[in-house]
Symmetry: C2
Subunit: 773 residues, 2 copies
């Protein structure tokens, strides 16, 4: 047979196609305002490029409706990428086919609707085959934390978000959500690729996911969304970074870098989680891995480095399900495959029966009891390396008796981990391939388990073929090339970088001359240090803190601030972005004011507070945090607090939806004397097993003559807070019944405390809380 | 470009492929017994055909394990199709690839395992690309009704059952089930095609489906099973004929002929129900249509004729879901499309909110309340024709406010049906195309609604293209050809027919000579009539009835049977298949025996009883039915019953799993006098909304001096029976508190009864029953 005949024919075909493609007639239309934009959109034809003039577009609701063609999309783009600023109360909605949006910068504002960018313009009119690329959304937050929104909401099918940078979302709602309600949005094959998801601060409660794919109500629908080649950097919003809630989603080759959460198959089934990097630091236990619920997932070729998260946040967390679970709760794990993964210096990387709560049968309804263990699940061909031996490589919160372990090996430095069959101890070393990337070099071939469908795992972490020279672990053996996972030019908008050069702070000397302190704080740059000379500073009006600032004086020459402001006003008013470090300062009030507080309204971004070496006396409140305000960290250290009506008040999140006012509250080496009530009042309400904060540490401190007016007769109030540690404190003559009431079922502990004439510390195993759903 | 070049190349390719296919070397191996069979299987190579010698293969467990090839399967086949009888305690298991089974006849026995034919030989070893064809399974029932099994159980992928005939299953368990536990059995693409599912008798309770696709536990898995071109004839096992419980199944071009059930999307989502025929008779309300639960189904191109089923059994039944339903209950209907269907002479064909039970909130837990109405559902382009106008074309058990109706038309003969927007009244006529097939002839074109995805409905009921000349309704307009839906040569095994020629019964005269009656009954053929001359028949031992038989004498010269058998034995012992019609006979006992009963054990098939014009007196029981026995119909007519300790006793199904002993119990124009207890005792236990029997009719009868020893003080006991009608009876001097306790929420009614000195008839709206699951 003469195959040359075919060779002659095909180039002709290709030529014909090429000619037809290059026939595109591009029309550029420059628009300067919304009216011009709307007109251009109305008149656009396939191939039209609508160019938004550089500058600030304020309070604009852009509706981009059009019918492009496959080879001739309709495009809206920035005149110069990154120089078109969408600000104020603005948003963008897209519907039609083959539409492209390029180079826009959303900042200094928030959306008037439920989303900043939506791939639809009405319930019926969705976008298909459309793309948002090279855009940035930065700190585009609602004024209230409880006002939920989404930054990008997908509808329709075959839409793409690529090379975008999204960071700084503080209010409720996932950063990106794929919506599947309606047949027009299923089997969507959306692509979320090559984006940079920059820092998302801790939200303090639920609804802080970075990406959510569907919801429990559409958890039976095929989504087929791909999330690939993205960088997730410090995505700390909540316990789930990616929450997959629909079927057949693929999460491939992403980098999860120091992100306090996990990839979770929360609802839906048959997810593929393939070739991702999970990078921790061996210190922070909040960096998680992959948490599995439901059926048929394949977790393959993933690399875990220095992930020491526990339980929900362990590198591999296989949950218990609820038998015959309600739609919005936990289905049993069945038919899952975990194969060809590599774990380097992770702690107890495999945890099964996560979330078991059989012991709580007394306080929870039957439909909440997670007792259904994983079934028909295979864990095979994985490699674990521990620089320091781990005594508990596998943790079974409930038995892993439905899990088959095959051909897994470990170098545990000879340390016994109580298991010889499920993982085989072996000697091998690592080789450093790049930053954070250490790969096993195996001196011999290890048998490979061939489970059902394993023949379809054709490539490794780096995309190398497994066909000819397969190996257990995330990579086949051979020459390793540095994958440069943190090369940020590969992700996000090409005109934007979130790398900040370290800047030397200015030290600004301030005297006690009237008004000088307030003036210089207002003029300082973020990060600057206000250095107070000794003496008395009379402050008559609240000082606004709206950036990171340090105020300090010398330890042995403390500046004294005398506050003469109005009742119920604070010395320091913490505004959005306001992070105050105050050191070696004495603060004195008249008994009716607050030392620190934040805004009652419009707290559109987080605040923070560190108080060290200070004396605080004669205030109504030491700290008063209002509802819908949040600090990642609040610390009091080496500080004495005396003669105040109230202490540290962080208890306004009474919606009982899992929210709270601060992630970490630390009291270290402080003294509290004559604080009448709310000495510490820190509250989280609502039962939700997946909200696993906040964190209270009270240590090395003394509490004397406090709590005399406390209504509930408990000195330290932390109801609903999941992690509490009260240790090495001295409690003397506090007129209460209890020093603290610990939640036994959670991580609440007390030790080495001296208690005299102050009641006791009591443990309640199962706290009764309102169900959140 | 010269396309002739391509034309020259392709035939060469095809030639090459053809040569390679025809290289198959077939080896025939004739085997006569299990040892030879096992050896042949062990030695088989691709292409081998193992021939089972004609004759009876008794008590054989055939394991067919092999590796055939795509073009060279390994086959086991009957020497002559239909002449190899698998009998006794036997079964067949298949695993491997490319295996074929042909021409076997399973009868006179039952399986020792859970299935007669299984597409696996162990939990791990399943079959793929394998086929069972031209086989028959007939009455291959377990000895006990409660011993569940399956006749064909699919595992693995790409298996086929075609041209088989299956009929007569009476015990628990679907006739065919597709199993999806394990990744080796998902996305299975099994084909169940061109089969004839012959009569499956009513089972009396749940677990009597003809085909079940998965289970609630695998309801999240993709199945992709096709059920196409099958005939379902009198598949009356239970309320679901096909129970689709997994995702992406396709049910196409089947004929549901006088089958008492529905096609139900019980669990799982995205079923396609396309081009099926539902044929009723306009009389039997048990013939159903399509009942929908869950998400994303497409119901298109279907034809419904004379289906008058109500509620669960209506032609289109859209159910209410349970909000956030547990896995094994009812998810909400969302994103469903019902388009291009034709309904001819159906009653209230569209019913929504089916199964709503908001009113039962008092007696049911919240997780049982079906209050979630259908959402985002479209009903469009359908045609309804009613020869006699229907006042309630749409029934809303709960509001259909989440349903969009578009471009539906009806000829309702001008009768107002209270709706002008959802269906448009129009004039058009039908044309007869074939038996049961009447299609609308439209005199003009009607607008067609184009919903999302409607462009993918490319063909009509007959497979004609919709592209050029589309029309609303199941068929495009044009020349119609008779689809010959009941041409049985298209379905089932080619060597088997279930068509039975009507046979004239023999009338066999019997005298009262000793032993003659028993002898002649034993010798009679099924269907024969035993004609008793007048006089006294002394019967000393139970007469066995194991076929359909009629025993009668003349109305005015009643034969008298005097029974002198042992205590607790019946005059007539109803064995499997025993259906007795007894007419104008007097039966007298000694007070300690039974007039009728069935077997205590091994009642492997149903019985039946019609008693008319008889006198029955002096028995312990008139009828005593034992556990695990079932009659489709029991009727007492024009009969007097007197001086008995117990009456009609059908109450042994106390497992509370929805089972009961008889489907229809009818008492018409009878008199009951001095029956001390259990006058009528008919029981169904267990709450299950989808078990919608049994049926009790008590009419035109008198009850006098009965119930004096009744422990629960109720005369007519029918606890848990769904359909009860007590009318035009006279109750006099019965020493009870209640004549009957009706279940108000179900179809229990009483009217025109005369009650004196007999207590009352009471209604309890919501009966408290044990939950079944």
């Amino acid at each position: 047979m003469n195959f040359n005949i075919l060779k002659q024919v095909f180039p002709l075909l290709i030529l014909v196609l090429t000619i037809s493609c290059s026939e595109r007639a591009v029309t550029d239309v420059l628009v300067h305002n919304l009216a011009e934009f709307d007109k251009a959109v109305l008149e656009a034809e396939p191939g039209t490029e609508i160019v938004l003039a550089n500058g600030v577009w304020k309070d604009v609701q852009l509706k981009f409706i059009g019918e492009g063609a496959k080879d001739k999309p309709i495009t809206i783009k920035a005149e110069t990428p990154g120089k078109v600023f969408i600000e104020g109360v603005s948003n963008l909605e897209i519907s039609g086919n083959y539409l492209v949006v390029k180079g826009l910068f959303f900042r200094n504002g928030h959306t008037p609707t439920g989303n900043v960018i939506a791939f639809r313009t009405s319930e019926e009119k969705v976008a298909n085959h459309s793309r948002v690329t090279n855009c940035v959304i930065l700190d585009y937050n609602q004024l209230q934390r409880d006002k939920d929104d989404l930054w990008v909401q997908f509808y329709g099918t075959h839409n793409t978000m690529d090379h975008c940078y999204l960071a700084g979302k503080t209010n409720g709602g996932p950063t990106v959500r794929v919506d599947l309600k309606g047949n027009q949005s299923i089997r969507n094959y959306h692509q979320i690729v090559n984006n940079h998801f920059g820092p998302r601060p801790r939200k303090g409660g639920a609804r802080g996911e970075t990406i959510q794919l569907g919801s429990s109500f559409t958890s039976m629908s095929p989504s087929n969304t791909t999330i690939a080649n993205n960088l997730f950097e410090e995505c700390n919003g909540e316990v789930e970074i990616i929450s997959s809630k629909t079927n057949f989603n693929e999460i491939r080759n992403n980098v999860f870098y120091k992100s306090e959460g996990s990839v979770v198959t929360r609802h839906g089934n048959y997810a593929v989680i393939d070739g991702n990097y999970f990078i921790g630091d061996g210190v922070n236990k909040n960096f998680g891995g992959i948490r599995l619920v439901n059926t048929g997932h394949w977790v393959i070729n993933n690399y875990f480095y220095n992930i020491i998260g526990e339980n929900f946040r362990s590198p591999l967390a296989v949950m218990n399900g609820i038998p015959k679970s309600p739609l919005n709760r936990y289905n049993q794990v069945t038919d899952v495959v975990v194969a060809y993964n590599t774990y380097v210096d992770c702690k107890s990387p495999w945890q099964f029966g996560v979330g078991t709560n059989i012991a709580q049968a007394d306080v929870l309804p039957k439909s909440e009891i997670r007792s259904a263990r994983a079934l028909r699940t295979e864990v095979a061909n994985n490699i674990i390396y521990n620089k320091i031996g781990d005594k508990n490589v596998i943790i079974e919160h409930d038995k892993a008796d439905g899990v088959k372990f095959k051909n897994n090996i470990i170098n545990n430095q000879g340390v016994d981990f109580g298991d010889t069959t499920r993982i085989k101890a072996t000697e091998f070393e690592l080789t450093k391939v790049g930053e954070y990337i250490y790969l096993p070099e195996l001196s011999r071939e290890f048998d490979i388990y061939q489970g059902f469908g394993f023949d379809k795992i054709t490539n490794d972490l780096f995309g190398n073929s497994r066909e000819d020279k397969n190996s257990i672990g995330a990579t086949v053996q051979g020459e390793f090339k540095d994958p440069n996972i943190l090369d940020k030019t590969k992700y996000g908008a090409d005109w934007f970088s979130n790398s900040i050069e370290a800047q030397e702070p200015s030290v600004i000397a301030v005297t006690s001359a009237k008004g000088e302190l307030e003036e210089k704080i207002a003029a300082a740059k973020a990060g600057d240090i206000i250095s107070l000379g000794p003496g008395q500073y009379n402050v008559s009006k609240s000082i606004i803190i709206n950036k990171t600032i340090t105020i300090q004086s010398k330890e042995n020459e403390k500046a004294e601030i005398i506050f003469t402001g109005a009742d119920n006003t604070p010395v320091f008013e913490l505004n959005p972005y306001g992070i105050l470090h105050i050191k070696n300062v004495s603060l004195t009030g008249n008994g009716k004011q607050q030392a620190f507080s934040n805004l009652k309204e419009n707290m559109s971004n987080h605040f923070g507070l560190t108080v060290s070496g200070c004396d605080i006396n004669n205030f109504n409140y030491v700290l008063k945090a209002y509802k819908q305000t949040f600090a990642e960290e609040i610390t009091f250290k080496n500080t004495s607090i005396s003669d105040c009506e109230n202490g540290i008040e962080l208890s306004e999140e009474t919606n009982d939806k899992g929210d709270y006012n601060v992630e970490y509250l630390t009291i270290d080496n402080c003294s509290f004397t004559n604080v009448n009530q709310n000495v510490i009042d820190y509250y989280r309400g609502g039962y939700d097993e997946s909200t696993i904060g906040g964190n209270l540490l009270v240590t090395n401190s003394t509490f004397t003559n406090c709590g005399s007016k406390e209504k509930n007769r408990i000195l330290l109030n932390h109801r609903g807070i999941v992690n509490v540690n009260i240790n090495k404190n001295t409690f003397t003559d506090n007129m209460v019944e209890l020093v603290a009431l610990l939640w036994g079922a959670k991580n609440n502990v007390a030790s080495d405390n001296k208690i005299s004439n102050s009641g006791e510390i009591k443990v309640e195993e199962n706290l009764k809380l309102k169900l959140m759903y």
